[in-house]
């Protein structure tokens, strides 16, 4: 990855970059902008991360992007101390399931510190977690673990689906006075889009309507968004006009945008790669049921992974959310013409 100009520049500049490059740029700009920002994790230094998201940062910023001992709880606890001591650490968990050793530090300490000290100690830290499957990864490399974090009060959780959001949500996460978990869509790391990073995007807490439509609303986040968009494209050829909402921010949840969208179409399908039982998608479906019941023409449907451990690479295609499954769910929304 070649060095890039700072996106802090107000000069409009359209370029084609990947999600991975956008995340890298966000950290690079933050490191340039604020000397309290530090990046730490496993292999984030000389190697630039196993996915190369921190590529070149150690070269430019030295020990401000540093490798740690291979111990996730230690990394997380160390970052908590760094934040208590006035720094803004960005932690990389190498893979979703590798963050589990840090679970106690995240749920008992990262999430609770502000509350237990009545705001006197706050932790401006970012936890980056490459999540999800579809990459042919072996076991423990493909979990969608967001529901553990969205269930924990005190954690802000965002899930970008494209390069522009990857950049701006990560910058916003770094600037936040609270700990933010960034669920990075690892299957989309290499997906490109033309972006102008000098153009502001909605902040944390805001969902975006990424496709207008009047027949039904598909609600997705992270790496399920492109699948939802493709489903909408196929549905259009079949005569159905699907609206797609990209949640972007799971906590805080943008009830206003989601409920207005669902009310406008009267039908909703929630799409997430994670196992569906007791998951974040359950929460979205429940909220729609509670708040939009009288606007609904059909029960809210969910399209999620099966309630099984993430499958081995040769079987993952049966698990992953697909265009077909989304369209089948849309078909079941009690259409009057059927």
């Amino acid at each position: 990855m070649s060095p890039m100009p700072s996106a802090d520049s107000p000069v409009p500049h359209v370029e084609k970059i990947t999600v991975m490059q956008a995340l890298n740029r966000a950290m690079r700009d933050a490191l340039r902008h604020d000397e309290t920002v530090h990046v730490l994790g496993e292999d984030v230094g000389t190697l630039g991360g196993v996915f190369r998201v921190t590529d070149g940062l150690t070269k430019e910023f030295g020990e401000r992007c540093f490798d740690t001992p291979l111990a996730e709880s230690g990394i997380m606890g160390f970052a908590i101390g760094m934040a208590m001591g006035g720094l803004r650490p960005i932690v990389e968990m190498q893979f979703d399931a590798f963050a589990y050793p840090a679970f106690e530090q995240i749920t008992s300490h990262v999430a609770k510190m502000r509350n237990r000290t009545k705001g006197q100690v706050h932790l401006p830290m970012v936890i980056r977690i490459p999540y999800g499957g579809g990459i042919g990864g072996v076991e423990h490399h493909c979990d969608s673990s967001e529901s553990y974090y969205t269930h924990t009060p005190g954690l802000t959780v965002v899930a970008p689906s494209n390069p522009a959001d990857a950049y701006h949500l990560l910058r916003a996460a770094i600037a936040s006075p609270d700990p933010v978990i960034v669920m990075e869509p690892k299957r989309l790391y290499w997906s490109k889009a033309e972006v102008d990073l000098s153009r502001p995007r909605p902040g944390i807490g805001k969902a975006a309507i990424v496709r207008e439509g009047k027949d039904a609303t598909i609600i997705a986040y992270g790496q399920s968004v492109p699948v939802a968009l493709e489903a909408a494209e196929v549905a259009k050829r079949e005569g159905r006009d699907l609206q797609v909402v990209d949640l972007r921010s799971l906590v805080p949840f943008d009830d206003a945008t989601v409920m207005a969208a669902v009310a406008s179409t009267g039908r909703a399908v929630v799409v997430a790669e994670a196992q569906g039982f007791s998951s974040f998608s359950s929460e979205v479906a429940a909220r729609i049921g509670e708040r939009c019941f009288h606007s609904l023409a059909a029960p809210v449907r969910r399209v999620t992974g099966f309630d099984i451990p993430y499958p081995p690479p040769k079987l993952e295609k049966h698990y992953l959310v697909s265009v077909d499954r989304i369209l089948d769910a849309v078909d079941s929304l009690q259409w009057e013409d059927q």
Binding site: G74, P177, W190, E230, F253
Partner: protein, 400 residues
Amino acid sequence: MNCRQTSPNPDGTLMTPRQPRTAPTRAAEPPAERPAYDLADAHLLPTPEPIQLVTPEGSPVADPRLPMPDTDTLVRAHDLMVQGRRFNDQAHALVRQGRLAVYPSSHGQEACQVAAAMVLEDQDWLFPTYRDTVAAMVKGVDPVQILLLLAGDWHAGYDPYAHCCAPTATPLATQLVHAAGVGYAARVKGERTVVVAMCGDGATSEGDFHEALNFAAVFKAPVIFLVQNNEFAISVPLSRQTAAPSLAAKAIGYGMPGKRVDGNDVAALLAVLGEAVDRARAGEGPTLVEAHTYRMQAHTNADDATRYRSSEAVKEWEPRDPILRSQAHLLSLGAIDDEHATALTQRVEEMAAEMRLGMSAERELDPTVLFDHVFATPTPQLREQRAQLLDELAREEAAK
């Protein structure tokens, strides 16, 4: 299901991770030019016997390994131990009166409590556990605020930044990693801050104990890990925590010095911890200190210690009491007298009275605070829930 999709993935690709962790990701390090075991590292090992400067009878040790702290410091430590003992016993009584839910007492461990905080300067951080309330008091935190957690008012009753004292930790060893991070941050910012992180013998079995010491050593963080080995983790004896020759012996595994010290000898503790603080402040990295002491009372008021240890075993430790020892020592030096003792008693009784008053006062608790500090800015959902609670309270009030 119809096959309307043409490609296996929406972007038409089947990505594979370039460097999954199961594959080698690092270039091999060049072989270190040192023998497998370097005798030069032997200095990291603790002494066979705990370091002692004053015998249990109050006599200076003939051949001390460290210089004796000056007498003024020892008098101050003695006074603080007496104050700490009073704090412990008053808090214990407050549980019986129903003012506190529970109290894990450091009765008998006051030498460790006092020394841990006395060796620190104002900007230095202390990371205490639930049993280290006296250490927090010595660091400067108000006794009543320390007890608000156990009184059930709030989780942390004091501002950690006001006296650089972290909230008393309830989970075991998790705070040790935070301490390492605070030390690292201070080093990065060029501050002279050092950190004392406390835990008990049981906590040394936790993974975070290992990770904290390893991180601190690798990054040369200015942290002193003080393990109060009081021989019990609730009911479980030290022999079930470790087969190591001593807890301090673990230090060499991290490449830091390990020290064993008599945990009821405040003079030895001040000397050993003071040396470790100087070392940390000079940029030479962390030290592990194991203080041999004994938990004289049950784990908390809710525990029945007679189920797992004999009262004879406890009695054996009574003559080794840290306050009796320092009193005998300072009397022999002529550094304290009856007048001193009378004034000291008056001071600590005033503190105890303030504790009783503070704990008996009806403290107004506003339930809406439950929503106010979850995030810097409450989410829309929390605002809704806060309004719901306010509405419930208003209806309760109206129904009265």
